[in-house]
């Protein structure tokens, strides 16, 4: 049962199929139901739509051609609502695309119920729209809203505003594909990675046995580790394991093929341009090579706090000053391809040996071998792990020396063993309604520490509570809100939480003078009154110790 509200006799159109898929993936709670929905989609959709679907599900979104505020204004205008009321609706729904889909009248211009146009028709129309003027865009959008069903409008808006995301892993999509076409899932995963353009690539080019020749930039799927849950003692003989620092940078693949260097992030963004200092690598690296490593701010061989590099990422152009202050290096972890040969099946210790030789031959300051930690017992490694922060690492990676380089997140051979986060007790002072699963619930909170008699807000946190706890806090907020600033409620400062975070840095954009890395709620301190929370001075001390 996918769609109880749309029983039609005609064959469903492309957009309808796609919208049903997105709906099903959003509501199905079990993995094999999701897998089935994907398989069903791949069996029913036409080839062109499949290519776009694969592109969209692997993060290749068409660029945004129109601002969210324009879309909001046009919708409010169309349905005859004042903008403030549209915004109130939006804050309750927590999602612009859905708000619009809920507000547009159900009566459709598409009265004879003919099948909707294809997904690719719409997406390609979006690409065309980039060159159109505002009136043309508006007309297209209003016409589309008028003919599409609510579920289709939702997806249409998501694509239009380039906010399309889907709650299934790329792995699952790959598995669904491999059930339908005669290719190994690892091969499919590789094929759909890299630099391909869905508007010019056909389904058979993408996934036939013969293709996969043209793209030299194509990275391998990353092998990712799970966090270790048990004591590492359970891993057995220490001689079978290699320990490295777990670096807190940007995981990436460095590829040189046909004389050209490509840098890929784990999110499969091509980020070569962001690191002009790697040009030396382009020269020195041997051709036909793929290295897995971590991009980190490095000066004189020392890893700096990641905050240093963060200021540079996201900028379109990197300035000379930034290059000096935040020089980027690569700590190499692994070698995946050498002389054009895929060596991922070789055991780690062999790959590592060959990697070490190459790094040493290349001999440029930007490329370093991520050091192996020497240890003889698990007890000793536990001690070493506690010093992780001293070298700006976030813990230890454990890799079985005999392990191949696998695809995606897998248990067994690689484990991450992170240090405990930093933590501070704080009181909730503001609350805002969340999005998605948390729509219409106050789940986004701002926390404060004490500074004498004052409360100083210093961070937001959105995660870490159970659904039940969120419901309790939501109820508290609704009964104890003092003022309302747009969507934000000021809350009676009474609920105390422990906030965990991975790092702390000075910030002049925040009133508290600090910015936290990955803050989240680690505990609800029912036992602690507001008078006993941490102070601004405590935060500053932490900044001094860990923020450098």
């Amino acid at each position: 049962m996918n769609d109880v509200t749309q029983h039609t006799n005609t064959t469903p159109g492309g957009m309808q199929l796609f919208a049903s898929l997105v709906y099903d993936l959003g509501t199905h709670t079990k993995t094999n139901e999701k897998l089935e929905a994907l398989i069903k989609y791949f069996s029913a959709a036409d080839d062109k739509d499949k290519v776009w679907m694969i592109a969209l599900f692997s993060g290749r979104r068409p660029r945004r051609t129109i601002s969210p505020s324009k879309i909001a204004t046009w919708c409010a205008e169309l349905v005859g609502l004042p903008l403030w009321l549209f915004e109130e609706s939006y804050h309750t729904v927590g999602d612009l695309s859905e708000t619009i889909a809920l507000l547009i009248p159900e009566e459709k211009t598409n009265e004879n119920n003919s099948p909707s146009r294809s997904l690719s028709w719409y997406v390609e129309k979006f690409l065309e729209l980039e060159k159109s003027d505002e009136q043309q865009k508006k007309k297209f959008i209003l016409d589309s809203w008028a003919e599409l069903s609510a579920r289709e409008i939702f997806v249409f808006n998501k694509l239009l505003s380039s906010t399309f995301r889907v709650g299934v892993s790329q792995n699952m999509m790959v598995n669904a594909l491999s059930k339908l076409i005669k290719l190994e899932s690892s091969v499919i995963a590789h094929r759909i990675s890299g630099n391909w353009d869905p508007s010019t690539t056909s389904f058979s080019e993408l996934l036939s046995e013969e293709s996969s020749v043209a793209d030299h930039s194509k990275p391998y799927p990353f092998y990712l580790a799970y966090a270790i849950e048990d004591d590492p003692e359970t891993l057995g003989d220490t001689n079978e394991w290699q320990a490295e620092w777990k670096w807190d940078g940007i995981r990436g693949q460095i590829i040189k093929r046909n004389g050209t260097l490509f840098v890929w992030s784990r999110g499969e963004d091509l980020i070569t341009e962001k690191f002009p200092e790697y040009h030396l690598l382009a020269e020195k690296l041997p051709d036909k090579i793929v290295i897995d490593g971590e991009i980190l701010p490095v000066k004189n061989g020392q890893v700096l706090n990641f905050n240093v590099l963060q200021t540079r990422i996201g900028r379109k152009n990197v300035t000379k000053k930034q290059l000096e202050e935040a020089p980027a290096g690569i700590f190499a972890y692994d070698l995946l391809e050498v002389d054009g040969q895929d060596i991922r099946e070789l055991p780690l210790h062999e790959r590592r040996q060959r990697l070490a030789a190459i790094v040493s031959d290349v001999n440029v300051p930007q490329l370093m071998l991520s050091p192996v930690i020497d240890f003889h017992s698990w007890g000793q490694l536990k001690e070493i792990r506690l010093t992780s922060r001293d070298v700006n690492s976030e813990g230890i990676m454990l890799k079985r020396k005999s392990s191949p380089y696998q695809v995606g997140r897998k248990r067994g051979d690689w484990w991450k063993w992170k240090i405990d986060p930093l933590a501070i007790d704080a009181v909730m002072v503001y609350a805002q309604k969340g999005a998605g699963r948390r729509s219409n619930l106050y789940t986004d909170y701002t926390f404060a520490v004490r500074d004498g008699e004052k409360l100083i807000p210093f961070t937001k946190a959105y995660s870490g509570l159970t659904d039940k706890e969120f419901a309790q806090v939501d109820n508290f907020v609704k009964r104890n809100s003092l003022e309302k600033f747009g969507p934000v409620r000021t809350v009676k400062p009474e609920l105390v939480f422990e906030i965990a975070f991975e790092g702390i840095a000075a910030s002049n954009r925040h009133k508290s003078g600090v910015a936290l890395r990955f803050p989240r709620i680690s505990k609800w301190r029912h036992d602690k009154p507001v008078s006993e929370i941490n102070t601004l001075d405590d935060l500053k001390k932490m900044l001094e110790i860990y923020g450098k």
Partner: protein, 383 residues
Amino acid sequence: MESKLQCIDVRREALGRQLALFHDSRLTIHDSTTMLIDFTDKGLYCSAGNFYLDPWKPVEKAVITHGHSDHARWGSQQYLCHHYTLPILKLRLGENNYQTIGWNEAIDINGVKLSLHPAGHIIGSSQVRVEHKGEVWVISGDYKTENDGISGVFEPVKCHTFVTESTFGLPIYKWKQQSEIFSNIRNWILDNQSNGKASVLIAYSLGKAQRVLRAVKEVTGNIFAHGAVYNMHQTLTNAGILAEGMLPEIKRVVPEMPKETFRNAVIIAPPSAESSPWIKKFTPYSLGICSGWMRVRGNQRRKNADEGFVLSDHCDWPGLLTAVEATGAQRVFVTHGFQSVFSRYLNEAGIEAAEIKTEYGTEEEEAVQELTNNTAEQVATDE
């Protein structure tokens, strides 16, 4: 009168200050001259007639709009309600001093004329019309404008001042016709049956459960219910309020029943059952939740429902607007729900409106689900 309306304007400017006084139930209308109905810390109060409407604390005389627990509370000395509400109050509040009347039967209480009018929310639910010295107020309680075939047909009542709920007072809340939702529920059940699954439908025991039963009985007679739903069902059936055969016969789920009993069956359960181990018994099953909140995708996902049926016993946005307009009221007070949004909208539409803080809206659907009564109480006592 004018000073009261000024007070409404002041509300906007000094919202923060006023909200700081949020425990003072008279915060919105502070005035020395009493209105026909006053907003007090015990509930809506008519001083001329010396009675309360849906009080949340024990009082001498309570007029009850309907049987949901946030409107009908224990401890008052006398209760006045519609005939149909009586069995519900007896079930929930026990024996008390009850007086019942029918719809459109005016009575006199200390010189104040009072009558009840169908509100269409649940069985027996009534709006209360209060008239004194030519001034007429109508208190909506909870209501819906669509005729659900069980609850009576909402009757628009002309008045000077209308007190309206606003549970779904945002334009994103628009309901489909009951017949369409019912056919979706039936298709879903048939589909589950063809997959060998039971259909667990979450519906509040008073109101929603009876509506849903009417949809379900068209496709199966194999219907089970959680104790809370079953008890309410028996109470309503035994009271002889509903037409013969309107509701199907249902069986109570008891621990001794073997798992196979529920194969392909329909089970109706209240929201509190939805995340409890009790529900595991029906495996394999599909979970469908019937609530207006299911209109928003995130709510459905949060509850891990396989299907959300947007079925509500409250008005949707167009329903609220139609109802307010039909009263012809010059002034509207907005209670539980999206009261600030709805009152602002009415003000901009030229109808004087203000929001009123009440203690309604903790029951089931109004409380944005989730909260089992326990957690609500826990948070409340923490204050």
